[in-house]
Every structure is written in structure tokens, then in C-alpha cells.
Symmetry: C2
Subunit: 353 residues, 2 copies
Amino acid sequence: MTDKVRLAPVGLGRWAQVLARGAQRGQVIELHSCFTRDPEKRKAFQDRYGVPKAASSYEELLADPDVEGVVITTPNDTHRAVITQALEAGKAVYTDKPVAQTLEDALAIRAAVERTGGVFAVGHSARRLSGNRVIKQWIDDGTLGDVSMVEANFSNERGLELTPQTWRWYLDKTPGGPLIQLGVHHADNLQYLLGPVAAVSAVQRKLYTPSEVPDATMAILEFESGALGYLGCGWASPGIYQIRVQGTKQNLMYDLDFTHWDESHEADEWSSLVSQAYGQQERTSVELPSTDMFREQLEEFALAARGQGSVEVGVEEAIRALAIVHVAIESNRQGGRAVEVKPFLDAIEVPSS
Amino acid sequence: MTDKVRLAPVGLGRWAQVLARGAQRGQVIELHSCFTRDPEKRKAFQDRYGVPKAASSYEELLADPDVEGVVITTPNDTHRAVITQALEAGKAVYTDKPVAQTLEDALAIRAAVERTGGVFAVGHSARRLSGNRVIKQWIDDGTLGDVSMVEANFSNERGLELTPQTWRWYLDKTPGGPLIQLGVHHADNLQYLLGPVAAVSAVQRKLYTPSEVPDATMAILEFESGALGYLGCGWASPGIYQIRVQGTKQNLMYDLDFTHWDESHEADEWSSLVSQAYGQQERTSVELPSTDMFREQLEEFALAARGQGSVEVGVEEAIRALAIVHVAIESNRQGGRAVEVKPFLDAIEVPSS
């Protein structure tokens, strides 16, 4: 047995594989065991990623003392049960975003984190992209001046390719469609950059997807700082990942070619960050230090599981991001009027379990 | 006297000069006379652009039988009177956008156009930009597939530089701030591209301008087609002019470096139009045929004044664009809820004059 931190993927679909490749790009993590219901999928995952063990039940995985933490990529509506069970078994837990499907579930997860004192990380990886790190730095050090507007779009073609065999097809499993799957990243990014959102106005449409979910969402975010934010997410076009920030001294335009999203160690090479300064004719290309968001977040989590450092995105940040999704859905239901985030969150009943 | 169409600028500020340079890049138009109240400004304009005459009053200008049409760049709230007077004097009228400050004024101008049968053009030049022409073609010929979302931003630093000496400082002269000055261009562009807007939700903020007007506006447009549109306009950052269209087959991203806006014969050189096709890793740069929006719209107007052809943007298109501005202001007043365009327009009293 190595001295690497021993993690176990739970749910072994496409995203588990993206994360496995991220973990295996570094020397911090060993994928030690794994679990999904289908034995053939378990075997295939073991073979592909050289994972020594596979558990035949989730309980067996959680009972394995060699497993220090789990990496959860199961459907959103299973997160609460899967996460709570792992925390109560004393395992550190990383879950992919969104932290849960509903805010009720998210609050129950928070209660479990508090009750168990376990290490808990949520995969809001996108804030770690080099462009977002530079934008954050330029805001914090005053280079951008005062920020009045920020616009973000995260879209892809998923809605055109959904089948009834996938959970993302169904409205009760994927409320908001691309908003909860893609937009929730920007809901974290934008609050990471500009602080908490006070209110959200949103409009949603189901246009070209054969599935049940909306495939076009536009939301206006009113930040507590006074700045305005726009969040667009679609599921009926080729991929887009973009953020633009307008400051009194500079604009920054960040663009990542979404087709290179999965291989996060290469994403910066397919990104551009361009600044335009007040009073200047020419734009400037800003250098992007190399990052690897999937590897970095998993290594940070693994080390935290060993008591070394803490995770950047925990349950509070994740709830704040998920709240934007559900407040936007509520705003759309109310004809697009601005709905305040805090009263909406405060009105959610904290589950007793 | 040449055979060129003899036009007369009215209001000789910065924008009149941009248009004068546009007109003088071609061989169709002669700037034959001009008028503004200040005799020194008239003289300076005559000298600079080689204008043979200057009128000492607007009435004198309109009484000059050599003047075939007027080119109006006076403040928005003067448009109704200045336009109506010219139409009634039998002159063809070009006015800069917005057609008027209020919808009441715009409807009065429409009544004057109908009553006089005069040639009337509104300077929604931006739809003539090469990128917008290509986007329109790709939508119409099906290259983009079905369009679900379109996002546009037009912003500049004007709000940071306003002084109480300029009419744009005052809320009663520039309702909406950048929305009526810049956003109205995109209100025309987006309806040119995707047809009429059914409803608008908007949020506005006054953040960093010392003036009375908002300097950040975000609006969501619900098109009759079902597509969603976003329109952002700020007055508190360096310039931005951007449109992105998301289709099921392609995305198109159009970006124009705003610092090169005024010299419209060079704008295409400072623009990029990039496509990303479904299923393709690489983006493609789309060639932009050379255009010159200010020259082209003025020459089209001049020829129409001679009875040769008609203008592309008349009073109907201009009212449709202005309606977006005022419906957005109303939506902001109502807490951001979606306000329908048609009932809002229908409720405007048509002035009797």
C-alpha cells in the first residue's frame, strides 16, 4: 500500500472517468476502490484505471478501513443519501456539483457535515480555472476599478442528445436543466468573484430539446455590492464557456473553448483572457498561468482528508450556488420578477434527519 | 451645383461630424448647408467640411429649395419638433437613433410621416455592420439551425465622463441612460435578426456615474419566435460591442472593437466573427465583407430622397426598437417582471398634433 491518499469513486459514469484521469495526473491520490451497482461497469472501471478493489455494495465500500474518502458522481437526487451515509461512516466526501438537487437536501447535507465534523468538498472546479483566478486577483487588487457588470454563459449541446434512459431527461431529476448542471458553476464563479447575490430575475424556455427540461435560461443577478450579473445557459447549441467583467478601469473577457473542458490540464491552452483598458485603443492578451482544476480540487480534498489544509469549496459555498438555481426557477415561475435569495433560503425547512 | 444629393446637417456636435465624414467618403452626397444655434459652431463646421452654406435659423434652412434632406443629430427630446417641421417643409429627413425620446413623440413622428408622405430614415446603422449582415444570412439560410439564445452587449465609458453641461447627464433627457443611447442599437439588431420581441424583463442600476442616469442595465428579451435574448448596456467601463447567437447547428460570436466605431469604413477590420459548429473541436473565423455603415445608410437615404429606392430602417423599425427601451424601463420599475411589448405600445396615446 502506498502513502498516497486512498479515495474511492462512487458512481462510475462519464464524469467519474474525467475525475479519475484528473486524480491520476498527480502523485497525491490512489484510486483504491470503487462502487457502482453494475458489476460489469465496476470491472471495466477497475481495469481501465488500475483500481485494486471494487466493492459489491456501497456499505461494503464504506466499511473498508483503507478507503479514506469517496468521490461521488451519482445523480443529483441521490446526493443527500449517498453523502450522508459516507459522512456517518467517517469518510471524507467529495461530491460533484451541484451539492444536491434540492435546497432541502443541501441543508440536510450541511446538517450532516456539522454533526459528523467530516471533511466535505464540492466540485465547483470552474473557479480554479486560470482565467477566473486572474479575474479575481484583478478585482481584488483594484486593477479593474469598480465593477458594474459581469456576464457569463455556460452552454452545450446536451439537451439535443438526451434520451429517456438518462436522468437528465426528467424535470424532477434535473430541475432547471442546463441551469443546475452548467449554470451552477457560474453561480459559484460569479459569487466567488463579486460576493453574494441578493436577488435573481430569470426566464426559462424549453425549445429544441426532446426531453422534459428547459434548454434556454437567462438570469439577471443583483449582487449585494450593487453590481449586476447575467447568467446564460443553454442546452441546444455547441459549447460555450465565457465570462466578461466590466470595470471602470478595465474590461476582462475570458473565453474557454468548451470542447477542451474535460481534459482540464489542457484547458488553459484553449482559453483566452483579454483586457481592454480605459482610454486605450488596443486590447491586451493576459497570460494565463497553467492550472488543472480537476486534479487540484481532488488533491486539495485528499490532503484535507488527511488533516492537511482545508477545502476551498465546502457546503456553504455550494448552497449559495445552488440557491441561485432554485431562486431563478422560482423567478421564472413568477413571471420573471426579482426574487430575493436570503428570504427564499430562510424559508426552506431544515430537515430533521 | 453638382448632381449630388444636397443634404444639410442639423445639430453640429460630435456625431454630426462622424456622419459628415461618412457622407464625404462617397460621391452621392453633398453637404450643402447646415444649422446649429451657435454661429461660431456653424462657421467651424462649414470650414472643416467645406459646406457652402449655413442657415441662421432652422426656418431659413428649411426654406432653402436647394436642400433636399436634413440629417438630424440634435438631442433626443428635440427630435419630434425638428423632424415634424422638416417633414412639413417637404424635406426628406434622416435622424439619428433613437427616433425620439418618448414613444409618444415617436408615434407623433409616425403620424407626421404618414401625413406628409415624406422620406424618413432612422440611423440604426449597426444592423449594417458586416457581422450582423452575415449573422442574418446564416439565420435565414439555416446554417445556424434553430436559434434558442442571443446575447448582446453595447457599453462604453460615457457615464464616467458626463458633466451637467451635457443633456445626457439628465434623467428626463436620457431615460435609461446607455439603454436608450447604445442599447437601442441592439434592440434594432436583435429584432432585425430574430423578429419581434414579445416581452422584456429588466434591471437597472446607477452605480459609478456622477450623472442622474443609470449606468448598468440588463434586460431579457422574449422573442415571439420563442427564443430568448439578453441585452446588456453599461456606461461605466471601456467600450464593448458584441453579439453571440446560439443555434442548434452553430454558434456565431461577433465582436467589434468599439474604439474603432466612429470610423465605420474601418470597423470591419477591427471586428471578428467566429463560428463554432456542432460536433467540431475547432472554431472557424468567418470572413467579413467590407462595409461602411454610416456612409451606406446616408447614401441610401439620399437616393431615397431623390425617389431612387427606399430606406431600410424607417419609423416602424425605429418604434419597435425604442419600445424595447421603454418597456425595459417599465419592467425595472415593476421589480424586473416581464412586461409585454404590444399592450404597452397599444396603451400609448397617439398625440393629435
